[in-house]
């Protein structure tokens, strides 16, 4: 069991986190920007100071009397901006962490970068850089891997590839993975548990299905979207709403049309009929 009970004074609020994480699980950390997700990861890594207790298994990384430096915490970290060593080739980035050629070779095979092993970071695409960063994080066979929005800068196809890579790494090394993400489908796909942070506190914690499904009561289907435009067509009102990567038109009542504004966040749901899923 991993126990994290930390407090830290931040600019806008005081962080006060109490949570336990099952070892060997994949945990998604989500919540609005500025809710303290990255700070929490950095505290667990030992890159930022905080007061409290961090206990991994039977070992204390932080308590009243000691603070284990990042060098001695058994972790891997994937930074949002890759943070590769620019002066080293792909392979050397891995070998610098641990001079284990067989493991480096295996990890590069897992992220399909064997061909690029002699390239320097500036000769790689964003997706390739992030895969190197992921492979590098596992060079120490860490007990915990912390991934700070590892996929946010990548396109959809590359995200899917990396999501698979993360799951592969997890299976191979049996590492506890804590990753920050804003993408519900990503969280649903790869995590065992979701933790939602709000202003430095744990707002919700549970199974991805419990936390992510937006339906409530008798609703059959529910989406969150943003009003892009409102039009009056003859006697009816039509709202143009963006949902994820798509745009839909929904007929709304005159009363609703008066209530909502362009740019507002709304929930779109149906109750009366069963939705039909068609194949693309």
């Amino acid at each position: 069991m991993i126990l994290v009970e930390v407090v830290k004074k931040l600019n806008d609020f005081d962080m006060d986190i109490k949570l336990t994480i099952k070892e060997g699980s994949i945990v998604a950390l989500t919540g609005e920007s500025g809710s303290g997700k990255s700070t929490l990861l950095r505290i667990i890594a030992g890159l930022e100071d905080a007061k409290g207790v961090i206990k991994v298994g039977k070992t204390f990384w932080l308590n009243e009397t000691k603070k284990t430096p990042p060098q001695k915490r058994d972790i891997g970290f994937v930074f949002q901006n890759y943070a590769l060593f620019d002066n080293m080739s792909v392979e050397k980035n891995l070998l610098y962490i641990k001079n284990d050629k067989a493991l480096a070779k295996k990890l590069l095979e897992m992220v399909e970068l064997t061909k690029q092993k002699d390239r320097l970071p500036h000769q790689l695409s964003g997706g390739q850089k992030q895969r190197v960063a992921l492979a590098r994080a596992f060079m120490r066979r860490p007990s915990i891997a912390l991934l700070d929005e590892p996929l946010s800068a990548l396109d959809q196809k590359m995200r899917e590839k990396l999501q698979n890579d993360i799951v592969k790494m997890h299976k191979e090394f049996d590492t506890t993975i804590i990753f920050v993400s804003h993408d519900p489908s990503e969280i649903y796909k790869i995590s065992d548990e979701v933790i939602v942070l709000k202003e430095g506190r744990v707002d919700k914690k549970g199974l991805p299905k419990e936390i992510l499904l937006k339906t409530s009561g008798s609703q059959k289907l529910s989406f969150e979207g943003e009003i892009l435009d409102l039009k009056k067509v003859d006697v009816i009102y039509v709202a143009i709403i963006s949902i994820g990567q798509q745009i839909v038109e929904v007929v709304i009542s005159e009363e609703k049309a008066k209530q909502i504004k362009i740019g507002q966040k709304v929930t779109i749901s149906t109750k009366a009929f069963s939705p039909v899923v068609g194949l693309n």
Binding site: L47, P70, Q71, R73, G76, F77, F85, N87, Y96, R136
Partner: protein, 225 residues
Amino acid sequence: MGELDFTPFYLSFKLAAFATVILFVICLPLSWYFANSNSRYKPIFEALSALPIVLPPSVLGFYILYALSYNSPIGAFFDKYFGLKLVFDFPGLVVASCLYSFPFMFQPLQNGFESLDKSMIEASYIGGKSKLETLLKVALPNIKPSLITAIVITFAHTVGEFGVVLMVGGSIPGKTKVASVAIYEMVENMDYKSAHIYSAILLSISFLVLLFVYLVNRKYKKAKS
């Protein structure tokens, strides 16, 4: 032409080489420490270290002369325990040059370290690497242009120094008479021909040194983009 003495040039380069090596060893850990420090005393140290840029060389020279003279505690200490006479001798010139050229080594290194991506350094710590290993294997190789600028400019600046050297070292041939001081004397003695040759040599060297720095930086920027 035949009897032109190049000893002052030799002295200038010897002095510059000593000062550059000593300053590199001192400034490397200092600039690394200050680049990563948030101490409230940092501005005080930064201001102190930049003083040689704004102070007239005569002011700096006067204080160094005062501090290193045989009557001062520092001068007496070196004389007694190491047999070193610091003023009006080469070792004194090295000490004075290190103080005078300090910011030219310190500032480019500090700027280089500060411009590094912090997470790259953190990634090395998380990989289990000590601060020293991170400095030598990650930080230093990634600030090559700053490193080259610091070393080359410190060297060139020491070769070009005049006021401090004159005050602390005087003009003893073969000991403290460096090229810049020699030119001053030549002009005083109205030996314009030698002054022309010496000056032209210093001018060319300085230009070539600066050209080298800018070419290296350009190449590095191109390689990165």
